[in-house]
Amino acid sequence: MAEPARAVDAASEPPLIALERVEKRFANGTLAVTGLDLAIGRHEFVSLLGPSGCGKSTALRMIAGLGAPTSGRIRWPGHGAGSRPARGEVGFVFQEPTLMPWARVAANIRRPLALIGVTGAEADRRVAEALEMVGLAEFARAFPRELSGGMRMRVSIARALATRPKVLLMDEPFAALDEITRFRLNEDLLDLWRANSWTVVFVTHSVFESVYLSSRIVVMTGRPGRVHADVPIEAPYPRSQAFRMTEAYNGYCRTVSAALAEAMAAPGGGT
């Protein structure tokens, strides 16, 4: 089925997440992000793309509630009464798998559930469901060290999914993986996103990855980070590996690469 990219119907619906003039200065004086304005609509797959150290991860962490902006604010206008979502409604996937090495796969996935108060048979069901989603059902009793890097990342994703979040925040989750594993996980992530109508904010420094995945790419300047370009990727979903061979894909890659090069050359855009 060919559907248009899920660009926001800006007129009819308020954005789910709105960053308004957000600035973050760290205790050591580093200005990571400044004047960041960004509206993310429900069901979008937005990639934040920029050179390393441009504050994209910082922005993502602030959306997750890990550290408040030093000025400006982050609102959730599309969420209930505009308040922050409850615990468990937002899933976060780190750059590293970040698993507890001493706990088995199932126990790792179960931990967020316990923290939001889901226990017993219901927790068992959700753990099984999350493992099923990432295709690791038969590895529930394994320890993280027994798994390959790609499988560990799947466990990390399953852990974020266990609480059935509406929003998935991902901080360069596949950066440390080999390209073959990465492509496969890209594809699987898109399937899951489409099946579950999540909103995904995905931080990456890979032009190719962001074009393949996103419905929209936000290109950021170097530190202090701000939005340099906002590129909707209007290629239809589902996107398979064949999408990587198309002229449209190449065209978007060129456009986004050019925007990234500009962003890095922009004033204050040193890396």
Partner: protein, 290 residues
């Protein structure tokens, strides 16, 4: 979903390879135990021969009172067992109690430190003072200050055993993966949850490493205390002092052997415990894949 294919990425090696690995593991164990035993036997044999030479060739008939031969020591160990064994039990008991309190107070204080910077800033410098003060220097003070000798010896042993557990556990409690801390913060976990779920498990390998060191140290602390309090203690070290007054050199060596063996057994015991606790997940205890 479409993800299942990769699940088999990494599976058990083929049968032959596994067998090969088991074989090389057996050889490894043989070397590991065989080599030190062989080395020990060579040393003991040389020693025995040397003493025999001094007595029978050089004609120093009392040489066994200067350096007793291993066999003489063994005989003393058996003959004086009724003197040594009770002392050994006393020393062992002091060691065990001291280690117990070192664990309770070391871990307890480490947890308190990691929960509150105020407590850490107030107490940690004094913990360091305890550590850097030579035990032989303060043992006489402790023994005079505390009327009860058993308590005094316990305190001596505890002072030596305490610090490694404290400092290692502190580092362990701090060595939690920052990503996991972020994760717990996102789900609104309390400080105690973080302590139980993240900090304590992260500290376990550090704590167990300290336990191996402290077990030996608390034995040393007990022995040092007994030496300082010589005649009055019923412990094994006091038997060494006593034997030296009586010029029973083989008995001194026998007591020394008993202390060393105890230290080695304690080390092996806690190595075993550590391995048992960590073998499923910690790099230090997991055998490398080859």
């Amino acid at each position: 979903m479409a993800m299942a294919q990769t699940a088999v990425e990494q599976q058990a090696p083929a049968g032959a390879e596994a067998e090969d690995r088991a074989g090389s593991h057996r050889t490894g164990a043989l070397l590991r135990w065989g080599l030190p035993v062989l080395f020990g036997l060579i040393i003991l044999g040389g020693w025995e021969l040397f003493v025999w030479y001094r007595i029978n060739v050089d004609g120093i008939s009392h040489y066994n009172h200067i350096l007793p031969a291993p066999t003489t020591i063994a005989v003393a160990l058996v003959e004086d067992w009724h003197i040594l064994a009770p002392g050994w039990l006393v020393t062992l008991w002091i060691t065990a109690q001291a280690l117990f309190w070192a664990v309770v107070l070391g871990v307890g204080l480490a947890i308190a430190f990691s929960l509150s910077k105020w407590i850490e800033f107030s107490f940690f410098p004094y913990a360091v003072v305890l550590q850097v003060t030579p035990i032989v220097a303060i043992a006489p003070l402790i023994i005079t200050m505390l009327n009860d000798l058993d308590t005094a010896l316990l305190v001596c042993a505890w002072i030596v055993a305490f610090f490694p557990i404290l400092s290692n556990t502190i580092i362990g409690l701090r060595s939690v993966d920052h990503g996991l801390l972020d994760l717990y913060q996102m789900y609104g976990a309390s400080r105690w949850r973080v302590m139980l779920d993240l900090r304590l498990p992260s500290a376990l390998p550090y704590f167990l490493a300290a336990l191996k060191i402290s077990a030996g140290l608390s034995l040393i602390g007990a022995v040092v205390g007994e030496f300082v309090a010589y005649g009055q203690s019923p412990g094994l070290a006091a038997r060494i002092v006593e034997a030296s007054y009586l010029l029973k050199v083989p008995r001194m060596f026998a007591a020394l052997v008993l202390i060393s063996v105890t230290g080695i057994l304690l080390f092996l015991l806690f190595s075993f415990v550590s391995n048992l606790a960590l073998r499923s997940w910690h790099e230090s205890a997991v055998r490398r894949e080859r």
